[in-house]
Point group: D2
Chain length 299, copies 4
Amino acid sequence: MTIRGVYAPVPTPFVDADELDIPSWRSNVARWMTTPLHGLVVLGSNGEAPLVDDDEADRLIAEARDQMPRGRLLIAGTGRQSTRATIRASRRAGDAGADAVLVRTPSYFKGQMTPEAFVHHYRAVADGSPVPVLLYNFTALTGVTLPVDVVATLAAHPNIIGLKESGPDLGYVGDLIAVAPEGFSVLVGSASTFFASLVLGAAGGVMAAACVAPDECVQMYELVGAGRFDEARRVQRRVIPLAKQVTAVHGIPGLKAALAQLGYVGGPPRPPLRPVNPDVEATIRQHIEQLAAMAVAVS
Amino acid sequence: MTIRGVYAPVPTPFVDADELDIPSWRSNVARWMTTPLHGLVVLGSNGEAPLVDDDEADRLIAEARDQMPRGRLLIAGTGRQSTRATIRASRRAGDAGADAVLVRTPSYFKGQMTPEAFVHHYRAVADGSPVPVLLYNFTALTGVTLPVDVVATLAAHPNIIGLKESGPDLGYVGDLIAVAPEGFSVLVGSASTFFASLVLGAAGGVMAAACVAPDECVQMYELVGAGRFDEARRVQRRVIPLAKQVTAVHGIPGLKAALAQLGYVGGPPRPPLRPVNPDVEATIRQHIEQLAAMAVAVS
Amino acid sequence: MTIRGVYAPVPTPFVDADELDIPSWRSNVARWMTTPLHGLVVLGSNGEAPLVDDDEADRLIAEARDQMPRGRLLIAGTGRQSTRATIRASRRAGDAGADAVLVRTPSYFKGQMTPEAFVHHYRAVADGSPVPVLLYNFTALTGVTLPVDVVATLAAHPNIIGLKESGPDLGYVGDLIAVAPEGFSVLVGSASTFFASLVLGAAGGVMAAACVAPDECVQMYELVGAGRFDEARRVQRRVIPLAKQVTAVHGIPGLKAALAQLGYVGGPPRPPLRPVNPDVEATIRQHIEQLAAMAVAVS
Amino acid sequence: MTIRGVYAPVPTPFVDADELDIPSWRSNVARWMTTPLHGLVVLGSNGEAPLVDDDEADRLIAEARDQMPRGRLLIAGTGRQSTRATIRASRRAGDAGADAVLVRTPSYFKGQMTPEAFVHHYRAVADGSPVPVLLYNFTALTGVTLPVDVVATLAAHPNIIGLKESGPDLGYVGDLIAVAPEGFSVLVGSASTFFASLVLGAAGGVMAAACVAPDECVQMYELVGAGRFDEARRVQRRVIPLAKQVTAVHGIPGLKAALAQLGYVGGPPRPPLRPVNPDVEATIRQHIEQLAAMAVAVS
């Protein structure tokens, strides 16, 4: 399996009483399936994965699969702090219908996360997972970084098929692409770096912007593929203001507020996350309207 | 309940096949009960808590309680990333016999961990926990810091009885002590800062050194209480070289290696943690022998 | 004046006794003038500017000008910690023949470097400088970052014509390009980000790689301008291994060692910088030979 | 020479036109000489040293010496980025009457500041300085840290007599004290850590609080010397609120505002530093009044 294209890291809907909102989950997923997205990432950071229990996670994956045709990739986040729990979560995810798993770096014991520890961890997970594994580096949240050499070593494992990098350091992304063997996909994690990364040779992206602007994100991907860089860059500039609202500025609560305004179910985040206030909702609405207006002006 | 004194944050023993080693857990706990320690912290960071499953955690608490007389405090780490899971873990810990729970800050979504989010989180946990709550700040591992004002606010809650600070910033510790109301205990988390913190007014400590040098750590506490500062400082200087081996230098794997040499069961850490190599074991042995030799020279 | 293209941030040669080596400076500059570089940056970070006295700086600028035809831009680093000293250095640089000045952020009093402080500082410098001003952000060395809004404000000043960003964050670079008015040049500072930044709309680069591989760096710039992205990317991959040796891995001492092997005068760095050891020299030699071999293979 | 006691790192007064205000400098110094301070640090960080030109620095030292009897120590900050400039500044400072020099770590080229580089730098400075040298570590501003082993090595040099540490990490301070030979003084740099550091064995302090509350700071020092820890701790608690205003919260501009209210000459900071606004002045006034009121209540 080779992973290319644009994947939306979708949020998990909750009802007010802090329980999963499965009907909304099903309807949201069904609606994303009407867009040109290449697939979804379920239970990534944007899925509030660290706040979701194991049994809930299994349910979310199975329900998503139920709404997704086989041609669309279902990638499930299964990273845990222990190797053992990560393997178990990956097995359950495969059983529930995931096409691949996205495994963020263990990170709690930062000083002990040596290159050797990362290699042992990911090899054990890749050996134990019934579906292919994507590495996942998110330094800003975890405080650790997968060394490029470690990625090069792990890329030789037949069940490790790529990596998602969430940070903005294009030097690091370029180094990853340079060591990646044929068929090993480097995916980036923000709208701000998506266009430039594609030009550098990235295989695609997993980014919150794809939840709220899937058409534009896929369009960027296709324009770069066709060598139409100037047009791709213009699309990126249109998307970035809204993209920032649903990531750096207001995080998952902002993403949920944006989705609610677009007709998806957003709902409250799970505590300790707090919902955005009405002022933020108004700002987000403006950004959505501006993006829509620009889309009209362009078409 | 007011918490004062010296508490050992004990590691969790595993057998090679990555399962809990309950017989060793029982014998280790029983042996610590022969020392003058005021109590134990089970499933703190040194207990590899983020690597332990919920059912394992419940078992560890219950078995420890079984070995601990009521006069010794059993404090259980129950911090999780979600408020909901933290409350549930705290309830189970109370049911299993914990006297209090130690709740580290949620931290995954760093940008969203506002003062308001911390206050809501800890109030909900304190409301839901059947036993008193200790706040737990460990910036080096979590990347977030509880603001002093937030601690002052939370200290007014009747079920929040103290805080453990794991970092070396004595300015911060001093500020916490200054805002702490009567009966709210500030505990520190390293041998390097223990003596000075006690002089500043800290109520005690939770530190890895207390696992391997319980007598010396309690002695320091009592010497400061008696105003014998010079003697306390001399004890601290003797303890620090070994204390560093089992924290900053070699972490939990170092702590387990040291315990093995002292006749406790150490055992392997759970992956992704890696055991120390034989060279490190030899270094740790030297530090243990030096501490023992100094103890003889003094007595 | 609009600044576009590739500029080499050239190192300052010293003789062993810690004095300027002016003859070598002249011969080095003359030799760079035989390459297609668009100009030089004198007394940037790579010029060891913080280690050079004011009278030495004036001399270096004047001697460089003497070797540089008017068609090649001579940009002089003149940032100091105080506004007053920065203005004075900029005046002297203009008098000595600099075409523009590159002014790194003041940074010593990090907590006081508010947006307001940056705006006041740079406006005063731009008002006082006889030649145009380039802003200069280098977060990794200074610990402060020019906010995008501040850059947008300053870009309206008629004597502020661009910015050099030394970091790898392409999200930030993209934001700068998005707010840059017509004629305001965003230059980047590393070979690792040069190609992607050009595609994003950057005007050029100021990077150590241009000292040791000026032909390749200018070639990348021209290939991107011609829309030949795949070729540009291939050139970048050839240059990066050597580029890292003379920046991240071995810094200015590495850059000087590389120049020495290429027939320029390198010489020792000024203390507290230490020269590289012979092993490093051998490694750098290998990278130079590999780059040369690849160039032959391509042509 | 052994340095013990309390030293005020005094700010440099400027007139509005950005020039030194020598008459005020003389009157301020004279007034500090009426307090029990053991000496002054001229041209430390609080003296805006990085914003002051060399000729101004020489003048400030000479004028201070003129106002200070030989029994009070005059310590001059002479750290520069280059070894050469640091030696020259130290020579001039000795000629101008400084009793010792305080030499902050060079730090611009962070990646190159190896232990070896620090050892070479400080040995060359100590060899070249006509007066004893104090090392100076201020990680929060410089981004580099003197390793404890390096300090232990340098402490053996006959012309290196101590170290000032400006940070709050009491573990580090304790380690420095542990390796310090007889007669090598560890001084700390904030009111928040002063009391605890003295108890740990520090020789004294250099802290902004000593500019505005010299009596209380010296009192703390003497109380600890007399073993009256509880009283010392109470004095510290009284001083800390004002101490924070003139350091962490408002920096040098806050310190100057406080001095102005106490009858010293404060004056504007040198740009790019900005003066505090009237609201901050009012807050600082309140803290001064509270400290004065507490002093009356105690006496």
